[in-house]
Subunit: 374 residues, 2 copies
Amino acid sequence: MNNSNYFFKCSICEFRTCPSSDKLNCPDCHSPFDVNYISLEDAKIKLNSIKIPLPINSASIVSLGEGNTPTIKLDNLSDKLEIKLSTKLEYFNPTGSFKDRGSSIMISCLKKAGIKEIAEDSSGNAGASISAYSSKAQIRSHIFAPSSAPTAKINQIKVYGANTYLVEGPRDQATIEAITFAENHGVTYASHNLSPYFIEGTKIFGYEIFRDFYDSENFPEHIILPVGNGSLFLGVLKSFHELFLDNKIHKIPKIHAVQTESIQPIYSTIFKTDWNPVNQTKTIAGGIAVATPPRLNQIVKELQQNDGTCEIVSEKEIIEWQLALANQEGLYIEPTSAAAFAGISKLIESKVIQKGASVLIPSTGIGLKDLSPI
Amino acid sequence: MNNSNYFFKCSICEFRTCPSSDKLNCPDCHSPFDVNYISLEDAKIKLNSIKIPLPINSASIVSLGEGNTPTIKLDNLSDKLEIKLSTKLEYFNPTGSFKDRGSSIMISCLKKAGIKEIAEDSSGNAGASISAYSSKAQIRSHIFAPSSAPTAKINQIKVYGANTYLVEGPRDQATIEAITFAENHGVTYASHNLSPYFIEGTKIFGYEIFRDFYDSENFPEHIILPVGNGSLFLGVLKSFHELFLDNKIHKIPKIHAVQTESIQPIYSTIFKTDWNPVNQTKTIAGGIAVATPPRLNQIVKELQQNDGTCEIVSEKEIIEWQLALANQEGLYIEPTSAAAFAGISKLIESKVIQKGASVLIPSTGIGLKDLSPI
């Protein structure tokens, strides 16, 4: 071990190693790593008035004002659904999505490690976010995005200053090209899907829920998330596990994943459907259009160990919910976010969510980025 | 007077009257009204942990989570300009612009007055905002926007559920059509430019600056704003005047206005240039493309009484600053916001802003709404 307060542990097996920005996969089972703290207490820093264990000190955080997003009650929909529904507005982050939480911590750690140039692949939101934080940190960035990503997302990646490469073919092709580029040019592959630091940033979402609902009778019993690569899902679960270990909470909310009928690797793994990546169709929920998420096994394991379930929704349901949120609650969210809301009816139907339950769904991205369904 | 804690006072002459949502202009001099409190102390309510005099009680506020926006230091630009520059991220508001502050209070007051249907005109941001808050408040809205407004803004107005009307011709034509519609259909003309309630919402921006910088040596000496109709400008000044009257501050920051070379009614009035509305040209700063602002006289009076000045900037300067903010500070703001930043160099050149001064500029709108210059 080096003198860090944390180490990397494989997300699936028991392999442990010293942290390093070029270690992305376990040499034994090839799964991605997670950050594990030697002492939660010693690793805590104060951020947005909460004490959170993080792999970086306060002074080294590269910030654009991320986090501390508002939580609002959705009264009109609550009445209709007979539950207590609220949303945390994650598009109130500097580049318009929750990814900024992950980028802030990941870029901070890379900067502290002396990294000057990175490559990354993204369907859009993470790319824009990493482009912005790289500029702030004066790190040169190369972002590989599928050419099918919405124009507004591509433009946003470019405007922050990243070298931007549009890749034909499915989402996964952008990953292959980013890795090849990184290897050929000797730059760091800063994958938001593999980097254990990214999840340390997204977990702050969970710490804020803890802060905002502490002592409230409306502490969420259920949290529903749109899940593609699962960085928010894994971050939120990690926060509650840490809070549980730290005796701050005595029960972990149930965290459910929503995918689309078109692209459903998690749902398919759990419920053994005959879907496979080869027969994927297009979805308007671009942020969860990930047929082969690198942390798939970890996500499935965590869902099952924590009594969460997975639902799939249709394109039609996504559009209906996107419009319902806009014209009933004044919230304009992107289709990926709407997918999670579309999952509610199914979770109520299947009695996973009971009448009167407190449910929280993040509004992960702003509708302005993706105008396709209007 | 009725039993309100406030009355309407003409923004120019001494005329006073009881508040009512259909009174928009002084019968004597035709200028718009402002809210004046009988007692500042008695009118205070607690909002975002600040006590603010407002024309509405806490329980009646229609909220989508507006306000409490982060303020961040712009270190890279501060070093270059040799000043202490910070920005308050006003695009962290529910519909992506500072207008939400005004819409929240205006729609709350209209709802409380029993209004069920409104008409309004907007270049885009205010329209989207009022559409969203109307949906939340279950008020039917009719929004008139110039057909030249960016597609993303028009789509956003529509998605929140407003009946949306695109009007050919200059920005002012949308105003004429909204008024005509309101008269013909017997609905309330809820103009964000005329309603005194709107400014009561935008003034919360100033109260937050007071809260965030109170006791700080970096309390802004200068605030620079893009000014079109002036709702943020007038709101911010009102907040500082109230805080001054209330003995909370002993000096009011200098507040400067920035307009474009293309459309410069305020600059032209102050400096007697030969510009006039007839020879206006197009500008990418759509939010301040207002040739005949209804509160022009009030804005000029307030600027001059408070030692503020006005600058104009070119289209080229706006684009340069938009890109500089994105790739040097990781901030992607719309051209209208970039115009205010473009004003800094001129204010430094003319020695209005001295080396080492603390300067705050709001990032009033997000770049995603308006992709034209990229």
